[in-house]
């Protein structure tokens, strides 16, 4: 076995030109796959960072309260009791923050206006927001005072306001009354991708006044875990615990709460229904972009691998033809067909492994270089999709390992046919044909 692998390895290095051509192609495919995965992983990381800072915990307990079948508000009634049930559910819960959810309403500056989602925050207890936001101007702790607001850089630019300026927020209550709150811009934070373009934070008390909500209610309880990969499992446990505590629950659905609200308003029920969601659910179609990107990467790689397969066939069939006397000799001296087959598979596998690892390493270097260069993305639409104002790529070692393994296996599978052909070489091929 060891000697056969040695033969395979040395043959790869002996036929330099052939190996470079085919290995280069395999390395290129691996490079592309890893780079595309790095892009989608970076996007997912940005999405997670952005979502869990601005609108979501790893798991969320929100829901709707309907005073009439047609009017739904994103409210959790008497959140303290709900929080007590949730907190007792799992030892993996690190922190719970609460956010009040306003509407998608108009924010008006002295010169212009824009539509924004209004969120209420208790900055004194919301460590997540305080830790993650990068404040460019002003003081985030000023949000302790009612009548203040935290905006993001692009909003402030669009509204042509700075710290200390006053903007008006018009909010529609569940009774259909349009209220107005004048708030002072207390802090301007660095943009965090698409979500930060449409979100303004005001103190929870100010939001409650604007939308005529009670202080014992909130919009959502954002649950942060010590391991985000446990989100689905913990969400399931929380659902079970809340049902056991007598709460009505909505069926799980991978949509952001505002999309669910539109559906809920068409349903014929009143009162409170809680909704337990994960951060991916809240990202809705944006999370689908990541899946679509991964799907594209896999499909693209698959197509390229078909081209590689033809290269492998060409190379190995050529090798079988060139080495027919050698293979015949090996068969004559007692090498079994299975070992001949293995020898060619090992040759293809060795080449694929070396090439795929090289391609992955190159992609890793490119990702490191691009990340350290901190390439800025100025286009707002692109920022929205990328969830960041800089290009960020992330290499997930497990995905890279799987990519390399799949490409090696793919190559080895492609080598089966020529390897089988080699195993059919008759030992007599080693003999002279003159006699």
């Amino acid at each position: 076995m060891g000697r056969i692998l040695l033969i395979a390895l040395r043959n790869v290095f002996t036929h330099t030109r052939r190996s470079l051509l085919l290995g280069g192609a395999i390395a290129f495919v691996t490079f592309l796959l890893v780079a595309l995965f790095a892009f989608s992983s970076g996007l997912q990381a940005n999405m997670l960072e952005s979502a869990t800072t601005l609108v979501s915990g790893h798991v969320n307990v929100g829901g709707f309260y309907k005073v009439s079948p047609a009017v739904a508000r994103p409210i959790v009634i008497d959140y303290a009791k709900v929080e007590a049930v949730v907190r007792a559910t799992s030892p993996h819960i690190r922190a719970i923050s609460r956010r009040a959810r306003g509407g998608f309403d108009r924010v008006t500056s002295p010169t212009t206006s824009l539509m924004n989602a209004i969120a209420g925050v208790d900055i004194a207890s919301d460590g997540q927001l305080r830790e993650r936001l990068e404040i460019l101007h002003g003081d985030i702790d000023a949000l302790r005072e009612p009548g203040t607001a935290l905006m993001f850089a692009r909003q402030a630019k669009d509204l042509e306001v700075g710290v200390g300026d006053v903007v008006s927020i018009t909010g529609l209550t569940s009774r259909g009354i349009r209220n107005r709150a004048d708030v002072r811009v207390a802090a301007i934070a660095k943009d965090m991708g698409g979500l930060s373009q449409i979100l303004t934070f005001i103190p929870e008390a100010t939001l409650n006044t604007l939308y005529e909500l009670r202080p014992e209610n909130t919009g959502v309880l954002m649950v942060f875990l010590d391991d985000r990969d446990l989100a689905n499992a913990v969400a399931k446990d929380i659902r079970t615990a809340l049902r056991a505590a007598g709460y009505d629950l909505m069926e799980p659905e991978a949509k952001p709460f505002w999309q669910k609200q539109q559906n809920v308003e068409r349903e014929d029920w009143t009162g409170q229904q809680l909704d337990v969601s994960t951060w991916r659910d809240e990202m809705g179609q944006l999370a689908d972009i990541v899946d679509a990107l991964d799907g594209f990467a896999i499909a693209f790689t698959f197509i390229l691998m078909l081209v590689i397969i033809i290269g492998i066939w060409n190379t190995l069939f050529m090798a079988v033809r060139e080495r027919t006397p050698e293979i015949g000799a090996l068969r004559a001296i007692g090498m079994s067909r299975m070992r001949v087959r293995f020898m060619f598979l090992a040759e293809a596998g060795t080449l694929a492994l070396l090439a795929a690892v090289s391609g992955a390493l190159l992609a890793g270097l490119l990702v490191a270089a691009l990340n350290s260069a901190g390439i800025a993305v100025d286009n707002p639409q692109l920022q929205f999709v990328l969830m960041s104002d800089t290009l960020f790529l992330h290499i997930d070692p497990a995905r890279v390992a799987i990519a390399v393994l799949v490409i090696v296996l793919f190559t080895a599978l492609a080598a089966l046919w020529p390897a089988h052909r080699a195993s059919k070489v008759q030992p007599g091929a080693a003999m002279s044909h003159a006699g």
Binding site: L6, A332, I333, A430
Partner: protein
């Protein structure tokens, strides 16, 4: 018991719509310890005969017995094992593994056998490499050796498993006269000292001169039915020539 016995062997090959009768009614016996040659012009059937004896091909009619085994009755796997355990091969074009060095090439058949330990493998390889005069070239690859040296490696490889019968397909055809002579002397010495049976195919008179017995073949038929002795030379044991 003979090491090889062919009884009424025919070998036909289809060639387009016709059939080529490569061997016709061959009866041949090779005794253990012989140093024999199958001689004949190109296309006479030498290689076909060697292929049948080497379990590389099967007869169309008749029986081929190698070391008591009817080769037609053996499975592909059993024939492979018979080749590994009983036969050694030396080829006209040497057919060494180009990416392995001398030591590794000679050792290779022992690795295929699996039942020979590392220490024993090393002992046998060193002994044979020394006997073929290549101790100084152990780490050289075939591409770095002369034709004669390559054929010496092939001889060592053929003998390393201790085969009962070594088949050599025109072993001197690609060598110059002096080197060819030295190689023949080496094989004759191996034959004398180990009792290993050697069977060559050749149309080289030099090879026929050193053979103990020459089996002449023409148009697929043995010239002396029954494989009678046509030419004999005493089997001596001269020291291997250093040429190569």
């Amino acid at each position: 018991m003979s090491i090889v016995a062919l009884v009424g062997v025919d070998k036909d090959y289809p060639l387009g719509k016709t059939t080529v009768h490569a061997l016709r009614g061959v009866d041949l016996t090779i005794e253990r310890g012989e140093f024999s040659v199958i001689a004949g012009p190109s296309g006479s059937g030498k290689t076909t005969l060697l292929n049948l004896i080497g379990c590389v091909d099967t007869a169309t009619r008749g029986r081929v017995l190698v070391d008591g085994h009817d080769t037609a009755a053996l499975s592909e796997r059993a024939r492979t094992k018979l080749r590994l355990d009983t036969l050694g091969f030396i080829f006209q074009s040497f057919n060494l593994i180009p990416v392995l060095d001398v030591y590794q090439n000679v050792e290779f058949p022992l690795l295929l056998k699996r039942d020979v330990g590392k220490v024993e493998r090393k002992r046998r390889v060193f002994e044979l490499v020394e006997r073929v005069g290549l101790s100084g070239q152990l780490r050289q690859r075939p591409g770095e050796l002369s034709g004669g040296q390559r054929q010496r490696v092939a001889i060592a490889r053929a003998l390393v498993t201790g085969p009962k019968l070594v088949l050599a397909d025109e072993p001197t055809a690609n060598l110059d006269s002096a080197t060819g002579h030295a190689i023949l002397e080496l094989m004759r010495e191996m034959n004398a000292s180990n009792g290993t049976t050697f069977l060559f195919s050749t149309h080289d008179p030099q090879v026929m001169d050193v053979a103990q017995r020459v089996v002449r073949i023409a148009d697929g038929r043995i010239a002396q039915p029954g494989g009678g002795v046509s030419h004999a030379t005493p089997v001596a044991a001269p020291a291997p020539a250093p040429a190569g």
